[in-house]
């Protein structure tokens, strides 16, 4: 056995125990894309300590994972790449709650995570217009039936004043 072969054998023997018993732990770290979920009531306060349930795309009936929001109503989550499809995230507390859906973009160059359905509060002006329209409808209904009564046709059916 040459001197070089002896060194090689020694080197190999030194490696063997590690490979066989796997005593060493290897810890690596890599940045991944996480999802931050923020849950609020429509009055603006955060839903603190609310229960979060995540459903996988292939099984929307059983919870894939559970968690709880922090004091600011936030919950951070890393979704696996498999299975593909829309993940559902439900936040609930004391009988209130909502659900959003998140999908992982499949095409290259597409944003990795796409929130496909969330909830939003309508604009203040929009709300005011909607309230005004409902009030107008109610006022119209009230006047319609009052007019029918005033002209002496009360009890003659809904089209009495038409």
């Amino acid at each position: 056995m040459s001197a070089r072969a002896r060194v090689a054998a020694l080197f190999f023997c030194a490696l063997v125990p590690q490979m066989a018993a796997a005593h060493a732990a290897l810890v690596t770290a890599e940045p991944v894309e996480a999802l931050r979920i923020t849950a609020r009531y429509d009055t603006g306060e955060p839903m603190a300590g609310a229960q979060v349930t995540i459903y996988a795309p292939d099984d929307p009936a059983t919870a894939w994972a559970r968690g709880e929001t922090d004091a600011g109503g936030r919950f951070d989550l890393v979704l696996p790449t498999e299975p593909e499809g829309a993940w559902a995230v439900q936040v609930r507390q004391a009988g209130h709650g909502a659900m959003i859906h998140v999908a992982r973009g499949s095409a290259e160059g597409e944003a990795a995570l796409v929130v496909t359905a969330g909830t939003a509060v309508p604009h203040l002006l929009q709300r005011a217009v909607m309230v005004a329209l409902v009030l107008w409808g109610a006022l119209g209904t009230a006047l319609f039936f009052r007019r029918g009564r005033a002209s002496g046709f009360s009890g003659a059916g809904p089209d009495a004043s038409a």
Partner: protein, 207 residues
Amino acid sequence: MHLPDGLLPAGMALAGYAGAAGLVGLSLGRIRRLPDPQAGVPRAAMMTSVFFAASLVAVPVPPTTVHLMLSGLMGVLLGWFAMPAIMVGLFLQAVLFGHGGLTTLGLNGLILGVPALAASALWGGFGRRLPDLAALLAGSGAVIAALAIFAGLVLAGLPPGIDRGAERAALSVFVIAHLPLVLAEGVIVLAVLRILRRVEPRLLPHG
């Protein structure tokens, strides 16, 4: 206090629709038997719009805010008209503002409609002899009843795996936050009836 979509099992939502439909049917039957069924419609229409808009009024109760419910007021002023009026108001709230879900419309109708009919019965029983006390009790009692039905439904419909203890604690906080509303709604009913008695006694609900 509106149940949203997706929190309760589908069976409960269906049962809620069945129960609410039954109550609406009963109410419409009673309305038809009134001497002049159309006489109550203008008032019901105006109260529906008040009920609809009231849920947008947030009353700050630290650390949270609560919405006016007006279930007792609807019951006292409308009688049997309260149930259909509440269903119309809840439908508009769900569709326009997302307050409460469409699948849970029946359950929400029961949460607010049953207390309203109870308040109406209470007013019918004591309204003539003890108007002030009956008004206060109708307004406050309706909120308590609605809270109890809401909490009962939420606890009954918890899916397995949800932390029951945490949910019960959150519900307790929710109920305690609504205690000022119990008083406030009683005072609202009392005030409305007193004003009506002084200004326009003909508008007072018979009872």
